[in-house]
């Protein structure tokens, strides 16, 4: 399943947040959206996921979600959004309880996704006792459990420290290599974008417009840390963003 955005604009009252965004999210690829803070990247993700309605334009699903998909558009949140009163396993089960699945199906899916995120031995642990990285792995496992057509990832690694971020990036790459998934991945971190993105969409400062779309053909499994090609792309992206970011920094904060 693919997603297609056609001339999407969005405003909060008087404040224009997104301006005329047209974008295709191809199946089986990770599309990264980068931009200076306040450029409306998270808003764009909420529009894609149907949590908000765009003021103009339309967002289309092309094709049908894969068989067995329980929740086509599935989020992974920056702050994990785990229920603190449920264990790792309970948090995964939460999103399965909603569907008509047998006990053994639920158990099978839960064990599968917890296994894929290396969390099986922590399945009975409450979030308060999990590290930040493990919490986000639970959130990813939860997202995988509903077999999404598109994973909408909203700065999933931003709440983590640098080392953990590295480890999780490797995990995400491994997950994708095992079963390629479609994802819109919002981040302000260019290193993440070039490590994970098949294409990187650069937004301008508010109101967000598409400044440039960069396709990265290098396969994910070859993108090691310190790869010179990636460094070049990252520098290129930074050149585009630099002035936008500097100007965005000078702006006074308005509501949204």
């Amino acid at each position: 399943m693919e997603l297609s955005l056609r001339n999407v604009s969005h405003a909060y009252g008087e404040t224009q947040v997104l301006d005329d965004i047209s974008l295709r999210v191809p199946a089986g690829q990770i599309s990264c959206i980068v931009g200076p803070s306040g450029c409306g990247k998270s808003t764009l993700l909420r529009l894609i996921g149907g949590l908000e309605r765009p003021t103009e334009g339309e967002i289309l699903q092309l094709g049908n979600p894969p068989a067995g998909c329980l929740n086509p558009l599935t989020y992974v949140f920056q702050d994990f959004a785990l229920l603190p009163w449920r264990t790792a396993e309970g948090n995964v089960r939460l999103v399965l309880e909603e569907h008509r699945l047998t006990y053994s199906e639920v158990k099978e899916i839960t064990y599968d996704v917890l296994g894929r995120t290396s969390l099986l031995e922590f399945r009975d642990v409450l979030p308060k006792n999990l590290s930040g990285g493990m919490k986000q792995r639970v959130a990813i496992a939860r997202a995988l459990a509903v077999k999404p057509a598109v994973m909408l990832m909203d700065e999933p690694l931003s709440a983590l420290d640098a080392q953990t971020r590295e480890l999780l990036m490797e995990d995400l790459v491994r997950l994708w290599l095992r079963t390629p998934f479609t994802s819109v991945y919002v981040t302000h971190n260019l290193a993440e974008a070039v490590r994970l993105g098949h294409r990187v969409v650069v937004l301008s400062r508010r109101p967000g417009r598409i400044r440039e779309t960069v396709d990265i053909s290098l396969p994910l499994d070859q993108r090691d840390r310190g790869n010179p090609m990636l460094a070049d792309i990252e520098n290129h992206l930074w050149d585009i963003m630099r002035d936008e970011a500097a100007e965005a920094d000078q702006e006074l904060v308005h509501g949204g």
């Binding site: 949140f77 959004a81 939460l94 309880e97």
Partner: protein, 281 residues
Amino acid sequence: MADDLSAPKTTMPKTRMQVSEARPVRFRGGGFRPARRRWLGPLVFVVLIALAEWGTRSGWIGNLTLPRPSDVASTLWEMALSGRLWLHLAPSLTRLFVGATLGVSAGIAVGLLIGLFTYARAALVPLVAALFPIPKIALLPLFVIWFGIDEMSKYALIAFGTFTPTVVATYGAVDNVDRTLIRMGQSFGLSWHSIVRKIVLPGAMPGILSGLRISLAIAVILLVAAEMLGAEYGIGAFILEAGSLYDLERLFAGVTILSLLGVTISFALGLVEAKLLNWRS
């Protein structure tokens, strides 16, 4: 002189600070973090009771001022032995349980409505704010007309008294439930019902439980008021009777029972919290 020219000194950075001036950095942290001293609470009780015992025995506290603690204790003991304790405790506990159950469950329900629905909030919050400060005791005669002089009016008084604080605590707690968790639920396609049951309610539980502490303390206070009208038996009726008979031993025995009741409820709530809220860091 030769010492002055020795190598180490010249390589040291120039500093006017003399060795003799070195002193430890003054500590200015600490405090503002109450530590646990389990023994101190009971100790205060013991000291006060011992003081009262000694004062009444030696005579500088008159028998009109305070009863002798040991007499209060023996009064309690006799009550327990003769079964009168249970005679008074049973109806009070029933009133407390029925009244508080009615008031708390209605309060949680209305609090959830206010927390979840815009119209319920707009319509009910002013009403609750108007009802909250009414001394429920003042309404007792009215309740007697509405619900009769027997148990129903007592249930109603306690229920009404626990209702408003529970409402306020509940909708405050619902307001404080992490919105991102609700958005998460929506993003996974959870039904409205599931979101309320699995996210809003457990998320509001800490606030509801701490509201319950206040509500149940109010219930104990109102118990005495409820038993002012037409109660033959009950701890409140027992205290009022002792007061009117100027029987200080029984008065204090009754007050002690109420106080123990409060401590027990608080302790039980603590256990419930430890069980239900073990997820809190």
